[in-house]
Symmetry: C2
Subunit: 634 residues, 2 copies
């Protein structure tokens, strides 16, 4: 009965625009979302969720809690958005959370440098038919390398191509980094700089010590947080996809770096879905269907725990209603990944804007905990107690302070520190050099020069020691969900149109699964009549008691119009009161109807929205209703 589904992946460029225009029109008209502060002409990149959007969002978050936090016994925390500078200095955000910006030299209007270059290349490639083969290749190469360009490279390309400010055609400044955090000041004195957090993860990392203790000092365990994050975008675009404030749901799973197995790995090992490994991307191939277990055993996915979360994310997204055909897991290329990351996969969802990164699943190794340990001086480590003490070979470096003092005077302290900080490889090289030559040139970073160390100044040896425990910094595997992006893609994947019964109208429908639907059912008295209205109110009370969100519509509008109105909100079930003993329940997508006794209605709707039973189960139990009156209008 689905007359037209515009959501297949092969719609052309023009159809995509038409599809999106109709979708966005519907979403804004029915208040799924609203540009924030609209009566004051709004602010770019800020959106409100109106009633149905807000309900979808809280349903998605409730399902996320059930699917991840409850199912895995995660430790959920809730930290403030206001964050002092020291925390974000340690995490690297103060120095590196930047985009490259250019300014219109006359008006001061700001643009993202990479966006201007990207737009220029795309437009050239699309519209300039006179381009030489070499030029086409060059522009494609620029597009591929865009994310890796330094400010200088970006600037020289902008100059080379003669790119100017889009509106005014004025010249542009050189690109320079702009920090994307909203800055503020904590307390009345103005002396404590702070930022609105750019992610929720840091609140978990700084609490690692307490959380580890709370978990009985055992690994692995996961902590989770849902909350607002902020990014002061230079020039927001793409509607709900790139905004200045958004809800993140983040998981930090802490694990022994020497054992990244997962106890529930077997539950996801047979899942098969679209993956896009590094290799396929580098060789210009398409994403491939892989069995998750194979991707781990052949080394494509780094470890079991990372794979487990990839599988769980796949289940989460598809159960929400994301189309399997338009979801892929793309591995980060080497140049995309931070140097410390062991492996990283993005869940990308295809929508009219292209493939959009909606969930990042990264093995960040020990980077974050180490950074906060160093900055705060609080060791964020885990302990593995040995059942029996172990003998281990330990490197022992003993600088002879007296000799170093005589030789280097005031520099002694820095040289001692540098010697003690040598790693095993370096120390053994120094030892070998001292033994063979009696001295060695030794680079001291903090002095900015090399000094000559003689064999009487330091002793390096390896000793056998007894150890009772292993102390180590856990690795962290981080699945990070952009809730707003997932919801927008869900809107695209759920939206379709079908002809009205008379064939004179295109009707909009959202095929949300019950778990996501903003309202679970509507109650309609077939005609305006006090008896039917009393029944409708009785059903409404029983639905409220069962915790089911619903809506009564007692307007005199035709039943077909009322169905169409709620199909457009994605309401899965409509209860029509046409007698005082039994009513009909209509399913949104099939339009099938069954007849159910009034007392049983709330229970039936609850079972099918809670996922205890399916609609076909219910259809099996209750008689079908082939309406004459109600269909007349559809």
């Amino acid at each position: 009965q689905l007359l037209a589904s515009s959501s297949s992946s092969n719609v052309g460029g023009v159809n995509k625009e038409v599809f999106r225009k109709n979708l966005v029109n519907t979403l804004e008209r029915r208040l799924f979302y609203i540009p924030s502060f609209k009566i004051y002409s709004g602010v770019a990149g800020l959106y409100d969720y109106g009633p149905p959007g807000c309900a979808v969002k809280s349903n998605v978050l409730a399902f996320w809690r059930q699917h991840f936090v409850l199912e895995e016994n995660m430790l959920e925390v809730d930290c403030p958005c206001v964050t002092p500078e020291v925390v974000l200095k340690a995490s690297g955000h103060v120095d590196k959370f930047t985009d490259l910006m250019v300014k219109d030299e006359k008006t001061g209007t700001c643009y993202r440098a990479d966006h201007l270059l990207k737009d220029f290349c795309k437009e050239k490639l699309e519209k300039d038919l006179s381009l030489s083969v070499e030029k086409v290749q060059e522009l494609k190469h620029v597009l591929a390398m865009l994310d890796d360009f330094s400010p200088e490279q970006l600037g020289s390309k902008i100059k080379e191509y003669g790119i100017v400010a889009p509106e005014t055609k004025n010249a542009l400044s050189d690109p320079y980094p702009f920090n994307l955090m909203f800055q503020t000041s904590i307390g009345p004195s103005g002396t404590i700089p702070g930022y609105m957090r750019p992610e929720t993860a840091q609140g978990i990392f700084v609490n690692f010590k307490d959380l580890y203790y709370y978990n009985g000092s055992k690994l692995p365990f996961a902590a989770a947080q849902i909350g607002q994050a902020f990014r002061n975008e230079i020039s927001p675009r793409q509607g709900l996809l790139r905004v200045r404030e958004f809800t993140l749901a983040e998981i930090e799973h802490f694990v022994d770096p020497e054992d990244k197995s997962h106890p529930k790995y077997s539950e996801v090992v047979d899942l098969e879905f679209l993956m896009y490994p590094r290799e396929e991307q580098m060789t210009g191939k398409d994403a491939v269907n892989l069995r998750l277990g194979d991707a781990v055993s052949n080394g494509t996915v780094n470890n079991e725990t990372l794979a487990y979360f990839i599988g769980r994310v796949y289940l989460f997204l598809t159960q929400l209603g994301i189309s399997k055909e338009r979801l892929r897991f793309r591995q980060h290329l080497a140049n995309e990944m931070a140097h410390y990351a062991a492996d990283c996969w993005d869940a990308e969802i295809e929508c009219s804007y292209g493939w959009i990164e909606c969930v990042g699943i990264a093995d960040r190794s020990a980077y974050d905990l180490r950074a906060h340990s160093e900055k705060s001086g609080t060791p964020l480590v885990a302990h593995e107690k040995f059942s029996a003490p172990k003998e281990v070979e330990k490197l022992v470096i003993t600088p002879v302070k007296k000799e170093l003092g005589l030789a280097f005077k005031g520099n002694q302290k820095k040289i001692v520190e540098a010697l003690e900080a040598m790693d095993e490889k370096e120390a053994m090289e120094v030892k070998a050099a001292l033994e063979s030559k009696g001295e060695v040139e030794f680079q001291v970073c903090t002095l900015g020069k090399a000094v000559t160390i003689k064999s009487n100044m330091v002793s390096v040896s390896k000793e056998i020691k007894k150890e009772h425990q292993r102390v180590f910094t856990p690795s962290v595997i981080e699945p990070s969900f952009g809730i707003g992006r997932i919801i927008y893609c869900l809107f695209e994947h759920s939206f379709y149109t079908r002809k009205s019964k008379a064939g004179d109208e295109e009707l909009n429908v959202f095929r949300f699964p019950p778990v996501v639907a903003p309202i679970k059912c509507t109650v309609f008295p077939l005609v305006q009549n006090s008896k039917y209205e009393a029944v409708a109110k009785q059903i409404s009370r029983s639905l409220t008691a069962a915790g089911i969100s619903h809506k009564i519509d007692i307007t005199g509008t035709s039943i077909g119009k009322r169905y169409a109105r709620t199909d457009e909100l994605g309401v899965p079930f409509a209860i029509t009161v046409d007698t005082t003993t039994t009513v009909t329940i209509r399913e949104r997508d099939s339009k099938d109807q069954i007849r159910v006794e009034i007392e049983k209605v709330a229970g039936v709707v609850k079972d099918v929205t809670d996922g205890v039973r399916t609609w076909p189960d219910i259809q099996w139990e209750y008689p079908a209703h082939s309406s004459t009156v109600t269909d007349a209008d559809e």
Copy 2:
């Protein structure tokens, strides 16, 4: 069996301190909350909710949604925290959301001026036994008037009493207003000032037009929002009660100012609880038990809708576990209320810090919608269509522009506007004066002077017009919930200690009702044994499937210790696996145990945590278990 309840309201000052110290110690040790960024020495006024605190918070919010949003079919919205200045200019926050601050003249440390004065007066009254009767009365008067003092009055009292900076004893600056909003800047240019919202309400007001349309252009309706709000406190104190970032849950119920009845008023009319009307406060009396219906009919509570929400708030708080004896609804005194407010009541909860305002329920009349209508130019109004056109008398003011132009030249426009803006009373006075004297002195604010208007310059008349609808600005009734404060008071009201069975230890217990409890039940194999562990895991899976948060504890610790550990988290039910066919379920406060078949456990726990059945219902159905082994440890 409750051996000691420290939460009665008549504990003395010292006991309060001891009680609070024990409570706070327990809350921090069990990670109900954590000072934020603790490893960096924290930031005053910012707290994290750790795992059990976060679970309590999300349970409270879920219950709030069920009790208010779902029950009343409210329109829930979700707006950003980042807010442009223009919105908060209109709401009055930019100009008036301030506290008076004084600075240590040497160190620059900032203090709230009223806090210093309050502390001084309280300490004098408590410790200086030589005070004269007049002095005692004066200090008490100062305490009562504190909130009304102007900067000048506060400053002169501080000088008069010789109050200095608490730590350094340095002199203090004169008090000056400090705006409590966290300021930031939106976008890269630095030209759009913004703030972190100080409340969620404004997001609803600016969307009124769309929400009214969404509701079928019908009144009354309510919109709701849950979200973070921010207040850059000068010197936060009182732990979780006065913080710089907090969760608000706000309702804006829009109603026709001429009809403030409520369709469900009859459901709350017979509720009886502690109320503290203005009259009782002014005459130094205590709060009184009032029937809500009487409070409305005798005019104590302004209208039915306000009373309906007071009743619903009472039900909400007591169902969460707030003690009825330590909850009162206090009416604002005339000097506390904004000039536009029709009536205002605070739900105050008594805790060790005194009576704390946790929910404000205010009839704010048309103030907010009018303010945004004026500032934005978008009329935020409602319409009442008349069934038949009505004849109404309308004021018609017609300035004669030509005459005004001749008389006042360049000032003509401002005078025309001032004439047109006259209200009915003023216009009729002008009309009378013109008719009797032929001219009138007319004050033009925008010119800052009066001008002489003659009878040929303006005509004022009343005409009968046909009107098809009434256009008006709705009144708004606003219940506003400080979720963190409610949760802290709930912690105090739920906490008690009882002796261990051996009598050698004081054990902590939180008597959270199941709806609030962070974890609904625990699963304990009685002894370490693979058969019992298998059963425990089977029960755990069935609990997860039923959506019940729980914890398995398979450590070898004694069962008594394991019970005590979870009593301290407020877990209401403990399942102990002591056979492979049936298990015991223990209720936290009574310590009563019943014996239940393994397959039925999840269903029983679900029913009693969902509130479908009570513990006594369950006890009736299943055999009591009087344990020999399990009790041994308690």
